[in-house]
């Protein structure tokens, strides 16, 4: 599946600016004594045109970090840049436009609308934005994701892997600056999970897409180009050699008592 796809050309990678960045990001819940800092001063950059995994034990703040990066959650302090835009300064309407035009989402629970067919689900963000998707791009995406003969089906008539591929097509159709994936293989069996991860990697390497994935699975993270490790709301290192055993080692040392 991760072969070069004829007819698809890599987008020219924007040279300098990273896809996303966080500066001294803090997210606290509660107040005073009882305050919990889910993110405690995280600074990092997500390079463009790369597949980045965010890992960490439960409660490390990896989901909160992704939500803040994607503009789904507002940090208590610090800044989040998407492309060159500081999205922490944006109001609801502007954030909505950012979600619609500049990022794509793939979630563990697929988040497809059960009333719409696969095709309608794929086109939904474009329809919400009142845009006509680029037909050539759309056709090659559908072809790449192997959805051509599933377009008329409702999500309930599709397997988990197929549903998640519909979600990926939906995320990629608008050529977003970043695709955020939150445990995308969490609800899939091993085979379709690996298939999906290969597709995500293809989208990065062949199509120049930037992808950020949150996962707790070292094998899934092994599909990425680099892994960022989180612990207790703080950055706890990164891994560039993405062999599963290396990642596992790093994770294990992370969980150990300091």
């Amino acid at each position: 599946m991760n072969l070069p796809v004829p007819g698809l050309h890599a987008r020219p990678t924007p040279p300098a600016p990273p896809a996303a960045a966080a500066v001294d990001l803090v997210k606290a819940y509660g107040r005073g004594e009882a305050a919990v800092r889910a993110l405690d001063g995280v600074t990092l950059t997500i390079p463009a045109g790369r597949f980045t995994a965010i890992m960490g034990p439960s409660g490390s703040g990896k989901s909160t970090l992704m939500h803040c990066l994607a503009g789904l959650d507002s940090p208590s302090s610090g800044q989040v840049f998407l492309g060159g835009t500081d999205i922490t300064r944006l109001g609801d309407a502007a954030l909505t436009r950012v979600r619609r035009d500049r990022v794509g989402f793939v979630f563990q629970s697929f988040n497809l609308l059960p009333q719409l067919t696969a095709e309608q689900n794929i086109d939904l963000p474009a329809r919400l934005a009142n845009r006509r998707p680029d037909p050539g791009w759309r056709a090659s995406l559908i072809d790449l994701l192997g959805l051509a003969n599933r377009l008329g089906h409702r999500p309930s008539e599709l397997s988990g892997g197929q549903q998640q591929r519909v979600a990926v097509a939906r995320a990629l159709l608008g050529r977003p600056e970043v695709v955020f994936a939150d445990e995308p293989t969490g609800n899939l069996d091993t085979t379709s999970g690996h298939e999906l991860l290969s597709l995500l990697r293809t989208s990065v390497h062949e199509l120049g897409q930037s992808v950020v994935m949150v996962t707790h699975d070292a094998v899934a993270a092994a599909f990425a180009d680099g892994v960022v490790l989180l612990r207790d709301g703080r950055l706890a290192g990164s891994v560039t050699d993405t062999r599963p055993e290396v990642i596992l080692d790093a994770l294990t040392s992370l969980s150990g008592v300091r």
Binding site: H67, L72, D73, D92, A93, T96, R97, R99, R100, D101, F105, S109, N111, L112, L113, P114, Q115, L116, Q120, L124, P125, R127, L128, A129, R170
Partner: protein, 649 residues
Amino acid sequence: MIALALRLLRLGGRRAWTSAGLVGAGVAVATTLLAISVGALHGLDERESRTGWRTPAEAATGTDPVALLRLRTDFAAGRPITQVDLVAPVAGATPPPGLPRMPAPGEVWVSPALAELMGTLPAGDLAARYPGPATGLVGDAGLQSPDELVAVIGRPAGDPVLLAKGGSDVVPVAAFDRTGDGVSTADLYRQLTIVAVALVVFPVAGLLGASARLSAARRSERLATLRLLGASTRQVTVVAVAEVTAVATVAAVVGVVLEAVLSPLVALIPLAGSGWFAADVRPGFLPCLAIVVGVALLATASAVGGLRQVVVGPRGVARRQRPQGARGLRLLGVAAALVVLLVVNSALPVVSVDAAGVVFVLVILAMVGAVALIGPLVVRVVGTRMAARARSVPGLLAGRRLLDDPKGAFRPLAGLTLAVFVAGFLAPMTAAVAGVSSVDATTLQVTAPPSEVAGLVQTTRARLAAIGLPATVSTVGDTVAVLPRDPAGLDRARTVLDGLAPGSVAQTEAEARHEDTVLTADLGRGALVVLVATFLVAATATGTAAAARVLDHRHTLRLLTLAGTPLAVLDRARRAETVRPLLVNGAIALVLGLFCASPFVAATAALRPSGLLTLGGVLVAGTALVLAATAASRPLLRSVTAPDQERSR
């Protein structure tokens, strides 16, 4: 966008159908009532346009009138007969509507209903009052309603009816082209109808708002996904509102069609003393369209209003901010509402009848606002007491939940509280209607010129004796009173008097008050209809809001269940948190309602047996409805708290 919204909202599951059906039924019933009200207004106009010729404008001096007209109200078998005497009618002149030609002197034209009555009653009771047998029938074009009793009689010039007392003055008529006299009772009915519509509209708006909230709560994850994909707040609102608007629009069409279908039956309901031609009570196409559009707009507006407290974010549907407590500041609003009431109350006698209805709607608006403002405050107070004194788990749970979110807890109660307000407003009226003291209905009274009173008494006694009708004949001033020993002889005695003093008005006290009696009866009937409609709509709203509240709190409820709280305890807590605040709120609303009614009837009228009966019924029905509404959402509670509960879509 709308098409997408409707596709997303395609109903699924029996629960969705049930709730849509309930809302639809509530709106359809309300729309039918609205259409009937508008139809009644239309009918009143139509009636007026067909009967205007009987109260013509006076011909200018110097022009030749086509006839002299005199109007009087006669009675037979307890029913009023409109008698139109045309003196010296000009043959060949344009006749009044419903007549083929100008009646010649001595001719008697009667309405079909009067012809029938003349056929059933003995001649001495009715037919003998007229100069001859019926010449022909008055057509529909000249009649108020199919059951109206009308006689149009041609009289020669100089006929003694010209001089008779009672009845209207003799008017020289230029032409019978008048389509309304401008001073009819229709104006009063128009104002009353506006008030009735206002009373029904608020509970309907509450229902629509509640159903929008339920619609959003049920689809919270779907709406969140849309937000995630970049749908704006406005787009999501469109989706959430679309269902309510669609259901309400369909229901409004159903309601209007239902009114048209029912119009022959509606036409049988007497208003202002008579029934209707079925076509009169059908509002016509444009008003019907206006009703449907109006209901759709109301639905959209209330639905948007219902969603105001809800924010649909990309990560789920949440209540806006933290639910705020109900602050004492609200009392200021209530005080303002009372000031409005007092000002309007003192201004009411000055305001013309035309504006009275509209002015009164302002009062209702102020009172509705007061009820809505005070409600959460009362809930908070009740919650504090319950939580402080609770001896049982359900009591404690209920008290805490009331305190946590007084506004949310009041929402299911709002509709019924308003309904109780309406009941408080209408109960004294219905009681006043039932309480109309019995007036004399057996003694005929005739006013005669003073010089003729003695003679009239003499001849009356002689004539009554001659036909064998024993009666007491007496005089009070220039009034002659005739009391037949057998009440069944009333109409025969009247016929005798009519013959002796042609054109005079002989009627009992009860008959003289006939119009008032009709008005009070209409008021009572209308009040009852409004009351029943309000309660039905309020019950639907309560059920809907209760269901939305279960969905809003599903996480808490589920945690309580997982922690081992039995469903029965949750249920008891839910009952406690609704019934007690309702009783307190209801009592306040009742007082406000009585207060509101005070410009019309003394509030003490509600203490009459029939008033107490209405109020007691309202209280029992209200409590029962709340319990039923809470019970209706029990299956939802069970499914929300079920351990294997899948994320509800």
